[in-house]
């Protein structure tokens, strides 16, 4: 399965944020979407998640067996983790998880609620507290956990490691790695080290376009310098 983006354009008034995004993402890989602050990474995710209208272009899934057939992207195909996790604050973690499993009738949970909490390393004393009292990191874990349970085809992770402490960031990275099989994961970040450490492919979002970076260079010690130089050059251009 592939996720195809074809000539996607998004403008805010006269400002062109996404100029002509054309890209194919493959299943089973984590894509590091790298771009400077304000380059349009969140806008790109919001477009894919249908939170904002696009000006032109399209995106769809394509089956490897029938490349001509365009499979529409349905809301249930997408899992979206926003950088500032928002959770229904009037519920406890346990209540939210119970509700979430109940509304996903198509899912047969393979774990109990506590087992899910254990899997995500959510502290026991947090589980029956209101979500509004959760720390940023635990809220993030909850968001991730729900997306794991929903098991979407396409996972959009918008800077999910931002402002997490080292331990939780490492735990999250491990979870993201363990969940990459059978789905496409796009992980946006403006931190080059995180992208290099976690992702199978690096894609630059720059000047409103997506540009792949050759993955064979990922281990190259000059790789970071090359990307920084590329971002600078294109920005100056």
């Amino acid at each position: 399965m592939e996720f195809v983006i074809s000539h996607l354009v998004k403008n805010y008034g006269s400002k062109q944020v996404l100029k002509d995004v054309d890209f194919i993402f493959e299943e089973g890989k984590i894509y590091g979407l790298l771009g400077r602050n304000g380059s349009g990474k969140t806008t790109f995710f919001n477009c894919i998640n249908s939170d904002i209208d696009i000006n032109s272009g399209s995106f769809y899934f394509r089956d490897g067996n029938d490349p001509q057939k365009q499979i529409p992207v349905l809301p249930e195909d997408i899992g979206y983790l926003v950088s500032t996790p928002t959770v229904p604050e009037f519920m406890t973690g346990r209540e939210f998880l119970k509700f979430f499993i109940e509304v996903h009738e198509e899912i047969t949970p393979d774990k109990t609620i506590d087992e899910y909490f254990d899997y995500m390393m959510v502290p026991e004393d947090d589980r029956d507290r209101l979500l509004k009292d959760y720390s940023h990191g635990t809220k993030n874990k909850m968001q991730m956990l729900l997306n794991i349970i929903a098991s979407p085809r396409l996972m959009l992770l918008d800077e999910p490691l931002t402002s997490l402490d080292v331990i939780i960031a490492e735990e999250m990275k491990n979870v993201i790695r363990s969940q990459k099989q059978g789905r496409i994961t796009i992980f946006s970040t403006h931190l080059l080290d995180v992208a290099v450490d976690l992702c199978d492919e690096i894609v630059l979002l720059h000047n409103g376009r997506l540009e792949p970076i050759d993955k064979s260079n990922l281990g190259d010690s000059d790789f970071k310098e090359k990307i920084i130089a590329a971002l600078k050059d294109q920005d100056d251009a």
Binding site: P75, G79, P88, L130, K132
Partner: protein, 579 residues
């Protein structure tokens, strides 16, 4: 001195006009489509500025007349109506028609004016033009405030005088019509003088003047409750004697003179400082307003949902459990206020009966009429039979043919707007990031559950309104046809159901809230304005309650059906977080 007054006033009105014109052009240029067509040159087009200036002057004149006519005109109308009633039934204990008119008019007016000075205190408010003139153009603050105050007093006097003269043409006593404008001016001077005195005192002790929101709310609630109560008491033959009212007027006039001297001694520095403090307060309140979500965050994990509720039913039950206070406080206050008013009216009636006919007769009357009420009969009593006068017949006519007018109290009691805000900020805002929440079937499922919930929340005030209407019906002759009592209550419930459906649908179709619960999006506002206009028009449509009940029953069903269709079709696209 007159020239100075004219010159200052001209500057202020000119500046107001420029600010108004530029704000209008700015707003137009921000409007989608139109904004792109309009050139920047509009800001300097002299011709349009002159046209705006003419409209501005017309608006000033209209404000002068409409405001004064609406307030004092209504007082004169009600007074004339009551005076006629008193004369017709000889209730005035030998007083002449003019005396009665003066007595009632003063009762209402003094209350009206006192509430007015509590709520409306514009002199020390720093408007944009005052800010420019005083703090940028260095105009003398005292001169400016005094000029505007005299201008306000002039408008008040002329507006009330013209209203009075019109009333006099219809037979109102001239001394009252001439005296009230003078009294109005003196009360206003007293109010402003008192404000200045308090400011002076607080300033001396370095204490800030605070705007007390609760105080304003209480005042507004008092106005809403006391005015109708006064009307009812007077209608039932109780009134404050004229000498007392005249003494009160004289006292207020004397206080007005005191206020004048306080204002005379209020120096330019104090005026300037008061305006500066007002700017600071406004800035602080603006800063506070940025955290509009604060009031929605007072949630506690109190208990959980019992029973076998699952999925969205479970979500909604939890939401209601944790937001109960926030969602029901307004309908509960409304219901309690209505019950208190009903209780007072019944008490007034029973007490009057008791004093006239004694305890045993009173008990017998209450007992027999309670049975009449339970058996859907009507008020009956041999000692005090129901008298069919024009006042009660008017109220009977209202509950027979103008139940649609109850849309106004329904809109006051309804808390659906705040409920949608709470839904968004504490629930939907976060769940919208999950794909399942945007699926059509799930959206409509939750919509249905929420609509039922909002209707349930509205039931108590609706039933209270229906009972109020039924009591009027009961006292004035009972049902015209079987089940009229029941249908009156049903009508109130249906109207509140429509109201809840409107708010909820608007929320799903336009989702106007930002994450800080501010409203963004012209479409929501426009839809809201159009619906408000429609409701205002519908309020006046006369309809027999039986026909109305049938029509409303069908309409509500059809309306909700179409609202659901709209939500099902469009909400997956429209119901989302504003990015």
């Amino acid at each position: 001195m007159l020239n100075e007054f004219k010159s200052t006033l001209t500057k202020v009105i000119h500046l107001r006009s420029i600010i108004g014109y530029n704000s209008l052009v700015f707003a137009l240029k921000k409007t989608p489509v139109i904004g792109k067509i309009l050139p920047d040159a509009l800001y300097r087009t002299r011709f349009l500025k002159v046209i705006y200036w003419i409209f501005h002057v017309i608006l000033e004149v209209l404000k002068l007349f409409i405001g004064k006519f609406a307030g004092l005109g209504l007082i004169y109308l009600v007074t004339a109506f009551l005076t006629k009633e008193y004369m017709e039934f000889g209730k005035g204990a030998g007083m002449t028609e003019s005396t009665l008119f003066g007595c009632f008019a003063l009762s209402f007016f003094i209350l009206y004016a006192l509430f007015g000075i509590l709520i409306n205190r514009p002199v020390f408010k720093c408007t944009t033009e005052k800010e420019y003139l005083v703090f940028m153009l260095r105009m003398n603050a005292r001169k400016l405030n005094n000029t505007l105050f005299i201008y306000e007093l002039g408008k008040l006097f002329i507006g009330y005088l013209i209203t009075g003269l019109v009333a006099a043409l219809f037979g109102a006593p001239l001394p009252v019509c001439l005296g009230i404008p003078v009294l109005a001016v003196l009360i206003k001077i007293f109010g402003t003088g008192a404000q200045a005195a308090v400011y002076k005192l607080k300033n001396k002790h370095h204490k800030p003047m605070k705007t007390n929101g609760t105080f304003y709310l209480i005042t507004v609630v008092l106005v809403l409750m006391i005015m109708p109560l006064v009307l009812v008491f007077i209608a039932n033959g109780h009134y404050v004697p004229l000498p007392i009212l005249l003494a009160a007027s004289a006292l207020l006039a004397a206080l007005g003179v005191w206020g004048f001297f306080v204002l005379k001694g209020f120096g330019s520095d104090l005026h300037r400082r008061a305006l500066r403090d007002n700017i600071v307060r406004t800035e602080v309140s603006k800063y506070k307003e940025t955290d509009t979500t604060k009031s929605f965050k007072k949630i506690k994990a109190n208990g959980t949902v019992k029973g076998d509720k699952k999925g969205f039913e479970y979500l909604n039950a939890l939401f209601i459990k944790r937001h109960g206070r926030m969602l029901i406080v307004k309908p509960v206050i409304f219901t309690v206020c209505l019950m208190v008013i009903m209780g007072l009216l019944i008490f007034e009636f029973v007490y009057g009966y008791y004093t006239r006919f004694g305890g045993d007769n009173c008990l017998a009357m209450v007992g027999s009429n309670l049975i009449n009420l339970i058996t859907f009969g009507h008020y009956e009593d041999a000692l005090l039979p129901f008298e069919s006068d024009s006042a009660v017949l008017f109220f009977r006519f209202l509950v027979q043919y103008h139940l649609l007018g109850l849309l106004i109290p329904v809109s006051i009691a309804d808390n659906s707007f705040k409920s949608t805000q709470a839904m968004f900020i504490n629930c939907d805002n976060s769940l919208m990031t999950f794909s399942f929440f945007k699926q059509r079937d799930k959206i409509i499922k939750l919509f249905d559950i929420r609509l039922k919930q909002l209707i349930k929340i509205n039931i108590a005030p609706s039933v209270a309104m229906g009972i109020f209407a039924d009591l009027i019906l009961f006292y004035t002759g009972g049902q015209d046809y079987p089940f009229q009592y029941l249908l009156t209550i049903v009508i109130c419930i249906l109207m509140s159901a429509i109201y809840a459906a409107v708010w909820l649908t608007l929320y799903y179709l336009f989702q106007p809230f930002t994450t800080s619960v501010n409203i963004k999006g012209g479409a929501y506002r426009i839809a809201w304005i159009i619906l408000s206009i429609v409701f205002c028009i519908v309020c006046w449509i006369p309809a027999h309650s039986a026909i109305l009940a049938a029509v409303l029953l069908v309409f509500t069903a059809v309306f909700i059906y179409f609202m659901r269709k709209l939500v099902y079709k469009h909400a997956p696209k429209t119901w989302r977080v504003r990015v």
